[in-house]
Amino acid sequence: MPRTILDIHVIQTVPPSNINRDDTGSPKTAMYGGRRRARVSSQSWKRATRDAFDHLLDTDELGVRTKRVVELLSEAITDQVPELVDRSVKLAEAVLTAAGIKISQPRKKEALQESGYLLFLSNRQIASLAELAIEAAVAAGEDGKLDIAKADVRARADEAHSVDVSLFGRMVADATDLNVDAAAQVAHALSVHAVSNEYDYFTAVDDHKKRDDEEDAGAGMIGTVEFNSSTLYRYATLDVDRLRDNLGDDEATRRAAEAFVRAFVTSMPTGKQNTFANRTLPDVVLVVARESQSINLVGAFEEAIPDDAEGGRIVQAATRLAAHARELHEGFDETPVAAWVFGAGDRKVAPLAEIAERTTLGPTVEALGQLVSARLAERA
């Protein structure tokens, strides 16, 4: 069974900025390779990705859209508790009726009942509804009356964010049955070079006071803002098969994977954006499809890139990324299924064009979408 994993590597330069700060207002940092690096935490960039995601996808479009909910639900019930095989259809009907969903007999006599309209349900929602039915069946015993509260069914069916939950997971301490293991992994972004944070001392003028000749000319407020500027290495990996498990639908998986890659590549956390206007796009993006395991290439930057690096910091970063990827591929007999590279200009993209097909964002997303579809179809 072929697995599919998408690794996304981004080299991105941000000017003076404070994208992600700690509780003292300093930009976050971390030691790596013995040098202090700028850091943007994974949760910060996940949040940005998620927000970008909302604009790329209508979450209602994803999942299973079907009238044959009784069939789906009864299958889920027997999957979880095989002993309920004889009662599963009755239980499924009871849950749907309790939720206020009208079901009726379709024209074909022997077929199961169907809902009057197409229902959109994620895999997770179906499993969750099945659990509810099982709980009710256990509580009622062999032939007791089923007691299913409408509110319970609604709560379980009303999981609106199934796509981002499928990607980023969910941890709910007081309702663990709603937990989902994330299919995507996002690493903390680290600068490829050493940084030291700098301080911007500022004064703010009191306009009204300034107009008054009697008043002194002092500032209305003073302060400092900490910042740094950096070339970041960002990495995320998406396990397409796990995403398929969470979403329960091939087409939804393709669309979610496409949207995830696009959103991760083009998003930027909003921290201090109005102060620094630091919104940039990546310098170079490498997307690699693999089938054995995801490979984080951060090791290319363990030795910090010096300021006077040959060809400049960004070209040097792209060169190192390509060399490191090639070394790892050779060393571990790893052959990517496909790889694409795109970015800002020949000089930056050229080093990586040796290990990946050179293209642009749109075609990359389209190509990886097709790859995901083809491989999922093969899996089925």
Binding site: R3, D22, D23, K28, T29, A30, M31, Y32, G33, G34, R37, S41, S42, Q43, H161, G169, M171, T176, D177, N179, D181, A182, Q185, V186, A187, H188, L190, Y235, T237, D239, R242, E291, S292, Q293, S294, N296, L297, V298, G299, E302, E303, G331, F332
Partner: protein
């Protein structure tokens, strides 16, 4: 006995054993629950699956590169943006490298090695945002945990090895042991169940013990004066 050797290295890793609520600590070395969790993820075990098979493994960790502690401060809001969630602090080990020896039944270890080559679930070093970097999987060979940790070459990064100006290096190891050994310590990181509904950890006993191994990057500090073209004393050689 057969032992599988792993190298756990990444810019950030985090191995919490005693964390509760909003302060999520990290230990200075990988926890047994963390390592077994990594193996379970590679094999594709679900959190609710039984762990018996893995619990028999003996695990030893060697601290090849100590790393430094980083504190991360995190704010969160509910998805609708209306309410702030509690502020939380997460601790990470930055720049650390560990050699991990896993001893057990050969067939089981062969299975684990293959699973690590093509893991079913994404792997991470203690926390999901800490994917491993570089070479994770090393060899499968004969020997006990103690033998492998004493015999494996130093896995620290080249810059660390070069900075260490001695012919050998003494590294701390943390190895599973029986309760009655001298110097035993108790840690609560023996996984009983990873099931999110009732995650449970038992106590295990470990021993810290130093091992001394060679530094592959060692170069004698003082070069032979005769071979150094800039040595001021070279001019006087043979004049005495």
């Amino acid at each position: 006995m057969t032992t599988l050797l792993l190298r756990l290295g990444a810019p950030l890793q985090s191995w919490g054993t005693g964390s509760r609520f909003v302060r999520r600590n990290t230990d200075r070395a990988p926890s047994r629950s963390g390592v077994l969790g990594l193996l379970a993820a590679a094999k594709g075990l679900r959190r609710t699956d039984p762990l018996e098979e893995l619990l028999g493994l003996r695990i030893g960790v060697r601290v090849d590169q100590v790393g430094s502690l980083e504190r991360d401060f995190q704010t969160a809001r509910t998805r609708d943006g209306k309410n702030a969630m509690p502020l939380s602090y997460r601790f990470y080990l930055a720049d650390a490298v560990f050699a991990v020896a896993i001893e057990g039944d050969e067939a089981l270890l062969v299975g684990l090695r293959d699973a690590l080559r093509a893991p079913v679930f994404p792997l991470y070093l203690g926390r999901r945002s800490c994917p491993p970097a570089g070479k994770l999987l090393h060899d499968l060979a004969d020997g006990t945990v103690a033998e492998r940790l004493a015999g494996t070459p130093w896995m620290a990064s080249p810059w660390v090895q070069e900075r260490h100006r001695h012919a050998d290096v003494t590294l701390d190891t943390v190895v599973d042991c029986t309760e009655d050994e001298p110097g035993v310590e108790l840690v609560q990181d023996e996984p009983i169940s990873f099931d999110p509904r009732h995650r449970r950890y038992g106590w295990r006993s470990v021993r810290h013990r130093p091992v001394t191994i060679a530094n592959p990057a060692y170069k004698p500090a003082l070069p032979d004066p005769a071979s150094d073209p800039h040595c001021p004393m070279a001019a006087f050689e043979g004049l005495a």
